[in-house]
Symmetry: C2
Subunit: 200 residues, 2 copies
């Protein structure tokens, strides 16, 4: 097993959701583990002057169309949530709290959060929604609610965001393979060739 | 022959160059003519607040890597020009002046301009470079130099830019097929499916 694929994403990023549904299978096909790294795009935008898609004239309208079409192209259920974008800080903190216990559990939770937001139109900034994602996985919802407001868990996410800025992860999804950066779900074809050939 | 594919691009856009090397073959495969529409991205950026890639922190460095990689991925010769970006107004005006005479001639000129800039590292903001692109096609270089400073030719380009803004063409390359907008050379796989199925 070679170096893991690093997968940075924001839980409120629709293109991040699309990538989350594809990257594990791509990794498996090429004998690579995938390390999921939720972070806060807002923290990076403060450095880069970046803006959410919905804030850019013309682009916002295009994004609506492109997202719906990309979902169909990739064969994934998708709708733009009623509340969009929302804060994904609590979801990301819950992820890292769970990862401290069990990496597979954390990833299963992440998948449920993405589906809750982009398929079932639930507001993932709400603790109750995160609890409803975690409880079917055997997680105690009260413990989750307590954990995500502790300084320790907050610090983990802060460090990941600082690391993302340090590593110039300026968008979501952002995949790093052996140091090579790939921004956007539309780089999947390049990622597949890269993994197959060990670079090109 | 159905409605033409509309292909908007800026001559100083590297992703526009990549698309210019692919879109005609894709159109031909699906029985569609392609209408080439050079415009000035700078005119649109005034409306959207958009910025050239090189002006955005973190993104600029990524773009260098992504452009080189995308060139290799698509099998196209490419280098980032020494002077980048440059004004493409004269190149675009020369295109429309030639198009007024012969659409095929204009397209052949456009291909030479793209190659001069992104393969041979020539500064396409210089009239001499444009003349050197046009002369092997049987165009009189002196006439070209005179034409591109006339009010008539300037007005054609101004109108195309206004039309691009009106139609929300906010980036390069930007392809419109039967009213459906596709931004970026990375949308080629979606374009191909769209053309094959008549939408999806």
């Amino acid at each position: 097993m070679s170096t893991p694929i690093e997968f940075y994403f924001d839980f409120s990023s629709p293109y991040g959701y699309f990538m989350s549904e594809k990257i594990d299978a791509v990794g498996e096909q090429h004998g690579r583990d995938v390390q999921w790294r939720p972070f806060l795009l807002g923290a990076v935008f403060k450095e880069t002057g970046g803006q959410p898609l919905t804030a850019v004239p013309m682009k916002a309208e295009y994004a609506d169309k492109d997202l719906a079409r990309t979902g169909r192209f990739l064969g994934l259920p998708f709708q733009i949530p009623s509340a969009f974008p929302v804060s994904s800080a609590k979801a990301a903190r819950a992820f890292y709290w769970l990862e401290g216990q069990n990496a597979v559990l954390a990833r299963n939770f992440a998948k449920k959060v993405f589906k809750a937001y982009f398929v079932e139109d639930q507001d993932i900034s709400q603790v109750e929604v995160l609890q409803a994602c975690a409880e079917p996985l055997g997680v105690n919802g009260d413990e989750l609610a307590e954990a995500i407001v502790t300084d320790d868990v907050k610090a983990v996410l802060k460090n990941v965001c600082a690391e993302a800025i340090e590593r110039k992860v300026f968008g979501s999804p952002f995949v790093i393979i052996d140091g090579e950066p790939f921004w956007g779900v539309d780089r999947l074809p390049q990622i597949e060739v890269w993994l197959a050939k060990g670079g090109f």
